[in-house]
C-alpha cells in the first residue's frame, strides 16, 4: 500500500510580484521522510517554506501539506526583551489549535513541559527566554514546534549559530520525530550534512535536482545549485565529491 505524500509540490512557481523567485519545483515526501532543502542564500529555500506555510500563494502549479506544518524560523526574529519564560514560549505551540482566546489547559501545559523535556530543557522551564544561550533558545523554539504536534515540520537552518551540544540534541529529536512518522523539511547550506537525509532538494531560483543524496549530490548538480559559491574539495565523479559552500551574506 502506498501512503499519500505528507508534502508535495507540482509545477510550483513562487514570487513576490514580477519575476518568479523560484520555479519548476516538483517533489514529494512521504510520512517519516527527512528531506534536505539545499541551496544558496536567495536560492528560494525560505520562499518555498513560506508557500508550504500558506503565506505565499503559488504563481503556478500547486502545493499540498498534510495539516498545518510547524515552523522553526531561520534567523532569530524573537524579542529577547519580552518577558516570557521557556515554558511560555513552548506553550505558544498549542495556539495552532485555533482557540486563541482560551487560556492554556492542563493537557497543553503537560505537552509543553514534555516538549521542553525532549529538547533537554525541563530544568529551564521558568527561565526567561532572553536569558538562555543561543543554542538553548533554538531548542525552546523547537519545543514550541513540538507542542504544535504537527505531521510536517519545516526547519529553516536549524543548526545555524548553535553550540555542538544543542546541535546534537536537535539531531536526536529529528531522529525521534521521523520514527514517529513525522516528515521533516530541513533547509541548510551545508552540503556534507545533506548526505545524511533520505531526500535532497536542490534549489537555485529553480529546482536543480530532487532525489536521494547518493543519486543527486554530484559535482554538476552542486555547481549548478551554488554557482561560484561552491568549492569542491576532492573527487571528480558524480557522487563522490566533497564540497563546501562560501557564504555571501546580502543583508
Amino acid at each position: 500500500m502506498t501512503r499519500a505524500p505528507a508534502v508535495e509540490a507540482h509545477g510550483l512557481a513562487l514570487g513576490y510580484g514580477g519575476e518568479p523567485a523560484l520555479e519548476g519545483v516538483d517533489f514529494e515526501a512521504a510520512p517519516g521522510a527527512a528531506l534536505c532543502v539545499l541551496g544558496p542564500n536567495g536560492g528560494g529555500k525560505t520562499t518555498l517554506f513560506r508557500a508550504l506555510l500558506g503565506e505565499l500563494q503559488p504563481l503556478a502549479g500547486r502545493v499540498r501539506v498534510a495539516g498545518r506544518p510547524a515552523y522553526l524560523a531561520q534567523t532569530e526574529r524573537t524579542r529577547l526583551d519580552f518577558p516570557v519564560s521557556a515554558l511560555d514560549v513552548a506553550l505558544m505551540g498549542s495556539l495552532a489549535d485555533g482557540r486563541w482566546w482560551r487560556p492554556p489547559g492542563r493537557s497543553q501545559r503537560h505537552a509543553a513541559l514534555a516538549a521542553l523535556g525532549r529538547v533537554g530543557l525541563e530544568g529551564q522551564a521558568s527561565v526567561r527566554f532572553g536569558e538562555l544561550s543561543g543554542g538553548q533558545r533554538q531548542r525552546v523554539l523547537l519545543a514550541r514546534a513540538l507542542t504544535q504536534d504537527a505531521a510536517v515540520l519545516l526547519l529553516d537552518e536549524p543548526f545555524a549559530g548553535v553550540d555542538p551540544a544543542s546541535a546534537e540534541r536537535i539531531t536526536a529529536v529529528f531522529t525521534e520525530l521521523r520514527a514517529e512518522g513525522r516528515t521533516l523539511l530541513v533547509s541548510t547550506h551545508d552540503v556534507e550534512s545533506a548526505r545524511l537525509f533520505d531526500l535532497v532538494l536542490c534549489l537555485n531560483r529553480r529546482q536543480v535536482a530532487f532525489g536521494t543524496p547518493a543519486q543527486r549530490l554530484g559535482r554538476e548538480v552542486l555547481e549548478t545549485t551554488y554557482g561560484s559559491d561552491i568549492v569542491v574539495l576532492e573527487g571528480s565523479g558524480d557522487t563522490a565529491v566533497r564540497a563546501i559552500t562560501v557564504q555571501h551574506h546580502e543583508h
Binding site: 506555510l53 503565506e55 498545518r68 506544518p69 510547524a70 515552523y71 524560523a73 526574529r77 524573537t78 524579542r79 519580552f82 518577558p83 516570557v84 519564560s85 511560555d88 514560549v89 505558544m92 505551540g93 495556539l95 495552532a96 485555533g98 486563541w100 482566546w101 482560551r102 487560556p103 492554556p104 530544568g123 529551564q124 521558568s126 527561565v127 526567561r128 527566554f129 536569558e131 523554539l141 514550541r144 504544535q148
Partner: protein
C-alpha cells in the same frame, strides 16, 4: 493638619471623588494597556492619535455633545488620515504621520481659538479631572470593563505576536489582525482617557506605567497588573498633590505618572523573582 486629614480632606468634595474614580478607572485600564503599547512600540502612534483627535474634541465642545463622541470621531479621522498618508513610500510613515497630526492639531487649535468658541481649549489640551461629568465616568467604566475583557481574550495572541510575529503567523494567528485589534483598543482608550488628561497629557497614562514597572515585570500578566496598580496609585497621588498644593489637576496626575516612570528606570533595584527561582532550581538540580 495630620496625615488622616491630608488623606480624608479631599474626599469630602464630590468633585474630587469623581476625579479620583476617573483616575483610578483610567489608570487601571490604561496602565495595563501601556504594557502592550510599549511592547508593540506604539508610543508614537498613541501620541499621534491623542494629538490628532483635537478637532473632534473641539467640534464636540462647540456643539455641546459629550466629548467622548468627539474624541471617538476625531480618533477615527486621525487614524484614517495617518493610514492614507503613510501609504506613500516616498515620504515614509513617520514623516507622513508627523505632518498629518500637526496639521490636525493646528486645525483643532484654529477651531478652538475662533471668536465664537467657548474658552475651553486649555481644558481640552491639558485635561480637567475636576470637571469630570457622570457621562465621562460611565464612559471610563465602560472602557475599563470592555478593555479588560479584550485584553484577557487577546492575551495569548498578543504575547505570541509581540514575542515573534512571523512565528505567530506560522501558528495560524494573523499578526496584522492582532496588531489592528490592539490599535483599535488603544484608539478607544485615547478617546476616553483624553477627557481626564487632555490631548497633550493623556500619553502619560498610556506609556509611563509600563516604563515604571518594566524591570519588575517577570511576565506579561504581572506587567499589566503592576502597571494598572501603579497608574491608579500615581494618578491618585497626583490628585492629592494638586489638592494640597493648588496645582493643576491634569498636569499633576501626568507628572506623578512620569516621575514613577523615571523612578522605575533609574532606581538601582531589581526584582527578578522568576530568574532567582530558576537559579535556585538549577542549584538544587546540580
Amino acid at each position: 493638619m495630620d496625615l488622616t486629614d491630608l488623606i480624608l480632606d479631599p474626599l469630602r468634595s464630590g468633585i474630587w471623588r469623581r476625579a479620583a474614580a476617573e483616575v483610578v478607572l483610567l489608570g487601571g485600564i490604561c496602565g495595563a494597556l501601556s504594557f502592550w503599547v510599549t511592547s508593540f512600540r506604539l508610543s508614537y502612534p498613541a501620541e499621534s492619535l491623542a494629538h490628532g483627535l483635537l478637532p473632534g474634541l473641539v467640534l464636540a465642545a462647540l456643539a455641546g455633545i459629550p466629548l467622548v463622541l468627539g474624541g471617538l470621531g476625531g480618533v477615527a479621522l486621525a487614524a484614517g488620515c495617518v493610514a492614507l498618508a503613510s501609504r506613500d513610500p516616498r515620504i515614509g510613515a513617520d514623516s507622513a504621520t508627523a505632518v498629518v497630526v500637526t496639521g490636525m492639531f493646528g486645525l483643532g487649535a484654529l477651531l478652538a481659538l475662533s471668536p465664537d468658541a467657548p474658552p475651553r481649549l486649555e481644558e481640552l489640551l491639558f485635561g480637567d479631572p475636576l470637571g469630570i461629568t457622570h457621562t465621562d465616568l460611565i464612559s471610563a467604566l465602560a472602557l475599563a470593563v470592555v478593555g479588560a475583557g479584550a485584553l484577557a481574550a487577546l492575551h495569548r495572541p498578543l504575547c505570541a505576536v509581540a514575542f515573534d510575529a512571523p512565528g505567530a503567523g506560522a501558528l495560524g494567528l494573523r499578526p496584522g489582525g492582532v496588531r489592528l485589534a490592539l490599535f483599535m483598543l488603544l484608539a478607544v482608550a485615547v478617546a476616553v482617557a483624553v477627557q481626564g488628561l487632555g490631548s497633550l497629557l493623556v500619553l502619560a497614562v498610556l506609556v509611563a506605567p509600563a516604563v515604571a514597572v518594566r524591570r519588575a515585570a517577570t511576565n506579561p500578566g504581572v506587567a499589566m497588573l503592576s502597571g494598572a496598580a501603579l497608574a491608579a496609585v500615581a494618578g491618585l497621588a497626583g490628585l492629592y498633590a494638586s489638592h494640597h498644593l493648588g496645582s493643576a489637576a491634569g498636569a499633576s496626575v501626568a507628572l506623578a505618572l512620569c516621575l514613577a516612570a523615571v523612578a522605575g528606570s533609574v532606581l538601582p533595584w531589581r526584582l527578578r523573582r522568576g530568574e532567582a527561582r530558576a537559579r535556585r532550581g538549577r542549584r538544587a538540580a546540580a
